[in-house]
Assembly symmetry: C2
């Protein structure tokens, strides 16, 4: 068969990038390609691959003429029916994808940053051009989240999404809880095992989870939600002490991503949270990711899986390619569209409410408890439990409040900090669920 | 708009049955229909509904001419584009669906029994006629399992499926563990709350889970697997004592459904099993269902949700209808086909292997331990842990073996039963995972 002509049922794919994910896509098709064809009647053929250095050996042999250093050549190549973008980064990925879409090509992207920042623009371009755009791999690697939202749960109004969307921080928190390690030591371990980058900011400060949540909220609520709309706190301040006290209270700590559709506004936040140890998310260990979706008819649906890594991400990219190949064979484009997005205001974190866990160190002398309790009482914050642990002349006070509006809690914290008997507020962690 | 003519983008649905699921489908479309149309551009319109007693009031008002007592009329009605079968039972559902397919209509079914027994026949008929056949609701209610297997994980070879596929038994086991109740009391509670039928055989003896597993294994392994191919043990024999001893050993008990593709043969079984308490399935409580799928590239993916009930099941039925409406609007049929099934031999339970938990009551006198242990040794079964609890003149011995082939274990049990010092073998429960 000549490279210039597509066989019936064939999808000719141009790959932008051949790093961890791209190489895994090639490997997947070489491993399972025949089986995929046997099952689906569709052939996925990689006809062009753009890489930064075509001469560099990468352990994968391509036929002559497949590799190129010019990504634009792949997009422009008339033999390419579908562009699969696995290069990452906002530019030139954005320009290349928009160019492919304008040329009437279907596109698959694994690019979280691009979609979190320019999703609505890319969706609109695909809708205008009537081409297929699929982006399962942009969130949660091998974890199916976007297809379920757009298809399996299409009959529902989705009111809420929450889960663990970052594997690096979940690995770190699992190690801290299991081994009693501090944050730094667990981070070093994650770096050594390849679960964390040399610069871990993106993961540990919650940027990665916020970008994923923005994409999911945009799709679930049919409203543009940008990563910047997501309130964000990372896990650097979580200590082994918090984890130990949490355990005594029956809690496990997780970095949660939560988005809600509330009275016409969108609430979106990423922060550490205590969960009851029996909660299904508490059992999500190591680098696994998990997402809950609440639909008005389906109820709560949770999906768990490997949220990153070359192979799981390649599984998602190739599933999208198979879908596009099915459409192409049937002569359809844009079958599952991206609809219209209706902008909605963001509900600020100050208005959200949850129980809070507080750990503070105070001078251990009579009357301290009463002074602290009276501040909570005057600000209308109700205390669910309080434990004191004496440490020499000081004492650690661990409190859990009933559900409290964020602004109320902030007023309490400001007033506590004025107390002469308070050494420090060591931690405040939101609690998920009723206390 | 006249009932005789489909508007553009409209799918005219004929509903077979209007019980719990059918009524929820009608309610869902009345609640979310406009929103679904706004998002997808497709209109789902129920034009005929077949019920056993059209005169019976069912709290839902239909326009005149919609209700009929003749299911065959719905199938034959030229205004019906798509037949949604939510009546249950094998006949007449099978004949009606095959008739609809032969007439070139797309079909949606929520019928587990029908697909577990006649799936391959229905798949082949749909493939021959080139129509869409969707059956998400036939397994696991609102839990998306079939679409993920056929689409999100389409790039993978699936080697294994396992999970909790029956909500009634999971509710019963959750109550037994949480409240310390015996099986009968937990069953009565489940019946009172509507989670169990008056005749609970279908659920508690594992028939329901076996039928679901057969459907999932057929789809995952592309091989016909019938409910009768599934080895089956129910939960009637689980006692509060097993649950308490299991807890001491760090285990939770669940009714597991497990299917594997092993060396060209299919292994499929439903039985109670002990899981480590930290295992994600141990956190699946009450009437929830959960399914793990292992793909060669995606790794392990788990889905959790409400596996039964009118509303979750309606969510799945309507998702399938939306998919068909999208196809119809695009002028495609059979886009995601059912492929060819290649029969494969069943691997008998005797060849499977797992650790075992054993609870036996013996006479409490010197030498008993040694006699028991020597039987295990002679049969090549390695013991991981052993605990004795004295009860008057008798003792309970709790043993956990290392991984043992089923036939080996049966030989051990047969020899133990010959021992004069053995009062009874009270329980044998398979353990999942390494010990």
């Amino acid at each position: 068969m000549t490279p210039g002509r597509a066989a019936p049922g064939e999808l000719r794919v141009g790959l932008l990038g051949c790093g961890t994910v791209g190489a895994a896509v090639v490997r997947l098709l070489r491993t399972n390609g025949e089986e995929i064809t046997r099952r689906t009647g569709r052939v996925l053929r990689i006809v062009r691959v753009a890489v930064a250095q075509p001469d560099k050996s990468r352990g994968i042999v391509f036929e002559p003429g497949v590799l190129t250093g010019q990504a634009a050549d792949v997009v422009a190549d008339p033999r390419v029916d579908c562009v699969a973008e696995v290069m990452g980064g906002v530019e030139p990925a954005r320009t290349l994808l928009l160019d492919a879409i304008e040329r009437g090509k279907s596109v698959v992207t694994a690019n979280k940053q691009l979609i979190a920042r320019h999703g609505p623009e890319v969706f609109a371009a695909a809708a205008r051009a009537g081409v297929d755009l699929r982006l399962e791999a942009s969130v949660g690697g091998g974890l199916p989240v976007i297809q379920p939202l757009k298809e399996s749960l299409a009959a529902n109004r989705v009111s809420e999404l929450w889960g663990i969307l970052n594997g690096t921080t979940n690995y770190i928190l699992t190690k801290m809880a299991g081994e009693g390690w501090g944050f730094e030591r667990a981070l070093e371990d994650a770096q050594r095992r390849g679960f964390a980058e040399a610069d871990p900011t993106e993961d540990v400060d919650g940027h990665d989870a916020a970008a994923k949540l923005a994409i999911l909220a945009t799709i679930a609520f049919h409203a543009p939600v940008r990563a910047d709309d997501v309130y964000r706190e990372g896990i650097r301040r979580i200590t082994p002490q918090d984890i130990a006290f949490g355990r005594e209270l029956g809690f496990a700590v997780k970095l949660l991503a939560i988005a809600r559709d509330r009275d016409g506004r969108v609430e979106a936040r990423v922060h550490p949270a205590f969960l009851p140890v029996g909660h299904p998310l508490a059992a999500i260990r190591d680098e696994l990711n998990a997402l809950f979706v609440r639909g008005d008819f389906a109820g709560e649906v949770m999906t768990v899986g490997r949220g990153a890594g070359g192979e799981p991400t390649a599984s998602a990219v190739v599933a999208d390619l198979i879908d596009i190949a099915r459409n192409r064979a049937a002569g359809v484009h844009g079958r599952v569209g991206w609809g219209e997005l209706a902008p909605r205001p963001v509900r600020p974190i100050e208005e959200t409410a949850s129980p809070f866990y507080l750990l503070m160190r105070v001078t251990d002398r009579p009357g301290v408890f009463a002074r602290i309790a009276s501040i909570f009482g005057e600000e209308g914050v109700s205390i669910a439990s309080i434990v004191q642990k004496t440490r020499g002349h000081a004492a650690d006070i661990i409190m859990v409040t009933h559900t409290t509006v964020e602004t109320q809690m902030r007023r309490v914290l400001a007033r506590l900090e004025q107390l002469d008997v308070l050494h420090s507020i060591r931690s405040t962690i939101r609690v998920v669920g009723d206390v």
